[in-house]
Amino acid sequence: MSALTREETEALIKEVLEVYPEKAQKDRAKHLAVNDQSVEQSKKCITSNRKSLPGVMTIRGCAYAGSKGVVWGPIKDMIHISHGPVGCGQYSRAGRRNYYVGVTGVNTFGTMNFTSDFQEKDIVFGGDKKLAKIINEIEGLFPLHKGISVQSECPIGLIGDDIEAVSKKGAAELDKPVVPVRCEGFRGVSQSLGHHIANDSIRDWVFSRDGKDVKSEFVPGPYDVSIIGDYNIGGDAWSSRILLEEMGLRVVAQWSGDGTLAEIELTPKVKLNLIHCYRSMNYIARHMEEKYSIPWIEYNFFGPTKIAESLRAIAAHFDDKIKAGAEAVIAKYQPMVDAVIAKYRTRLEGKRVMLYVGGLRPRHVIGSYEDLGMEVVGTGYEFGHNDDYDRTIKEMGNATLLYDDVTGFEFEEFVKKVKPDLIGSGIKEKYIFQKMGVPFRQMHSWDYSGPYHGYDGFAIFARDMDMTINNPCWKILTPPWQKKPEAEAIAKAA
């Protein structure tokens, strides 16, 4: 099936919306759009970052997910207490595949779950005493931890516990940072506010303690950079880091995949902040730009075209040595890229993809697919804001679908009509679409593969897409007794 025209896409949106009651129809219509590259401002065509409608199936998370799961969780040498009932921490434990180096339970704690396990009495009498006790227990059991963050779950905000006071007292006792994070799940409309709250808590509790900047004996160099907004899913940050190091830069900090507290404290001393996930960490980059005069740029390490573009853009902030380094890196990996494209492009050429992810991927991975000759025909964010869509419009082709906070129903209907060859979304969507017979890759966790960043990641990305789309299983979905006789005859004749 060839690409839809603008009119067809508009008609499709209208058709899908028809089943809703009038009020819901009006609301949802604002979140669905046909891409038009001539539009400068996304808000003219699409509304985002609004509360999901009750009754529709949203795929969003909560503020706690944004703070504990995304921003704070991967900081490996700190202990993150899920403060509240046990479920939030336990069901989000270690699911995100942020890889790290270290001995879990000794000096790193990434995949462990620490919770205050609230009971009725804690709700009635308050949980502050329990929190103080936990902080002391942690110090006794895990003396090598570098700090603690207190990630609030919903009840903390509802019962009005003073976690700031407990944290301050705990920090003084341990002589380590204890960071209270007010990321109760009910705040905001999605995980996006949780990212913001987490960024603000790093600003207020890590960069400066008691109003003073943290002192260190670190000697800044001329080529110091930090990787911000790379969560090392399946090793992404590592495959990005080697490229930056090969071109002559010194990566001081990784935020926050495989990151440590010390790295985060040193970040205000770097020369340039490199932002991969703009949505979750632009806040801290803006703060550092204002307070420490550190410029920041967004970069994209998905697919060779974007990598080369990004490496050159990063190098443009430094001297000729780095610029030459960037060219050398691009040249070094070119043969490898050519081999990957030669191998997979013929198998993937012209395949059409629909994406629905969060953060940066709905626009960042487009380059990767295009490098393999594939086409992205629909994309959308779970929790994007206007500025994300501003950046997306330019990346997407004309008359393609844009959907914000898409509902389960809408997504299924779009897929039935657009008939993409591949869908990239999350675990909640995976089995629905696989049962519909559509090849599917999880684009949150890379479907337990990865890394996908950098040149090495591109090779893995291409292999994974090929083995999903060209998997023989898609041809045998119809059981023999339901096969039409004519089809069988044709198959026999062939």
Partner: protein
């Protein structure tokens, strides 16, 4: 009154950012943009307008300032 941040974009233009609403936009015009006076009425690309108390000299950017909303686009 809203806290806003003004910074320079890649092309040297002023960029407006409203943290509370994650609204990022280019500034199309600023009432006073001279060596001895900076600020005043700010017009945004999306049609919104804000007022920043004029400062005696252009500040070091980016800068967070209090601004009064004159005409919001949304």
């Amino acid at each position: 009154m809203a806290n806003i941040m003004i910074r320079r974009g890649a092309a040297g233009e002023y960029v407006f950012y409203l943290p509370k609403r994650d609204l990022e936009d280019t500034i199309t015009s600023m009432e006073f943009d001279q060596a001895d006076k900076w600020g005043g009425e700010i017009k945004l690309n999306n049609g919104g307008a804000y007022y920043v108390d004029p400062m005696p000299a252009p500040p070091k950017l980016p800068i967070s300032v209090r601004a009064r909303r004159m005409d919001a686009a949304e």
